[in-house]
């Protein structure tokens, strides 16, 4: 069906392929060359609003890797089964992590969610639907419920 014909055409194609491979190799080298011990872009440190003990419900390294999984499972349980425990609920996260000044988790590079997501270049989809503002009343009761959720049940 498709005939590539002449040797000259084949030679052009070969050259293109070689150039493309070289370019790819170059990009890959650059990627590896850059980082390592000293990052040029500092990992964001986001101020946290909560006065409720200043400890997250899980430890930081775990959260950095797995918070999306926690949120995803929890949201399915909440939406489909009406389970509204607060330990892993988004509203509770926001209540603690909202910035002291703005009361939000997005809106600037220092904001909790947006700061890390901008650094990691991962698009945030949650706040098209969820409010990024802390519900003031949640803060106090959330700490209490979170404690009893963790302890009891």
């Amino acid at each position: 069906m498709l005939r590539f014909g002449t040797a000259r055409l084949g030679g052009r194609l070969r050259m293109t392929r070689t150039v493309a491979l070289l370019a790819l190799a170059g990009v890959a080298l650059l990627a590896f060359a850059g980082d390592g011990g000293d990052s040029r872009v500092p990992v964001p440190k986001s101020p946290i609003a909560s006065d409720a003990g200043a400890r997250c419900v899980e430890d930081t390294a775990f959260m950095r890797r797995n918070h999306m999984e926690l949120l995803k499972h929890h949201r399915d349980r909440t939406v489909h089964e009406g389970i509204r425990t607060t330990q892993h609920s988004l509203a509770n996260c926001i209540a603690c992590h909202a910035s002291k000044e703005t009361g939000r988790v997005t809106g600037s590079k220092e904001a909790f969610c947006e700061g890390c997501h901008a650094y990691a270049a991962v698009k945030l989809d949650c706040f098209e639907c969820h409010t990024d503002k802390a519900k003031a009343a949640v803060t106090a009761s959330a700490a209490a419920t979170a404690a009893s959720d963790g302890a009891g049940q």
Binding site: V79, E81, I83, H130, Q153
Partner: protein
């Protein structure tokens, strides 16, 4: 006879006054006794609503205002505004006019659930029909399928949503029976508001519990489902229609 009636009336009024005064924060009706937060819903409960059309006033839209406020809707009535509940004025062929609220009927056999390609439109075990906005792709097929035109589509980016009611551009939504309140053993905002006005045209409760007020009323008076010919077994019933 008349003495008894007078006494009964005083008692009834007294109870009503007390109820109305302390209504806002307290459940008026016998709900499924506080489900613990970590336990999922089950079909032991089936939430339903009874609308007394005779008690519904034409010039009152307290239910609509309450719904807008509770769920963070704009309250605007443009062609692209979300309206989860609306007042419909009916005129019978005889000329008689009535007024009633129309919202998602929370059918047991919902057409919107049938047609949703991703299963975002679903029925919770306790009978509430909801849209899982994490899965909704915004195809609007459910809006075509709903016999009550209960669904709205969000046509523009939103901000300042209520914490308990996430909603956003590109997804379809409808009355949730205030599921976030029900899960906290409260009643829907519209029911509460209607009671506060004194009309008390809306009654909310567990259809699966024969001793609940709504079940007793449905057993006692004639009620209809709107578009009963479609046999959807709606959770919202109308009395006096």
């Amino acid at each position: 006879m008349s003495v008894d009636r007078g006494r009964r009336q005083i008692l009834a009024w007294g109870a009503a006054m007390a109820g109305v005064t302390i209504a806002p924060g307290i459940t008026l009706f016998d709900l499924a006794h506080g489900r613990p937060p970590a336990e999922g819903v089950s079909n032991n409960v089936r939430w339903g609503m009874l609308v007394d059309v005779n008690a519904c006033a034409s010039d009152c839209d307290a239910c609509v205002v309450a719904c807008d406020k509770e769920n963070g809707l704009s309250g605007a009535k443009t062609a692209t505004s979300a309206q989860w509940i609306r007042k419909i004025e009916l005129t019978a062929p005889s000329g008689q006019t009535r007024s009633l609220p129309m919202m998602c009927q929370h059918c047991a056999d919902p057409p919107c659930v049938d047609v949703c390609p991703t299963g975002a439109s679903f029925k919770r075990a306790d009978g509430i029909v909801l849209v899982d906005r994490h899965t909704c792709i915004g195809c609007r097929y459910c809006m075509m399928a709903c016999p009550y035109k209960a669904r709205s589509f969000v046509h523009e980016p939103l901000t300042d949503q209520k914490t308990d009611v996430p909603r956003g551009k590109g997804c379809v939504e409808s009355c949730t029976l205030c599921v976030h309140r029900i899960d906290r053993d409260q009643i829907p905002a519209c029911v509460e508001a209607c009671a506060a006005t004194g009309h008390k045209a809306l009654l909310f409760g567990n259809l699966n519990d024969p001793s609940s007020e709504i079940s007793r009323r449905i057993a006692a008076v004639a009620t209809v489902q709107v578009r009963a010919d479609l046999r959807l077994d709606t959770g919202v019933r109308y009395q006096g229609l």
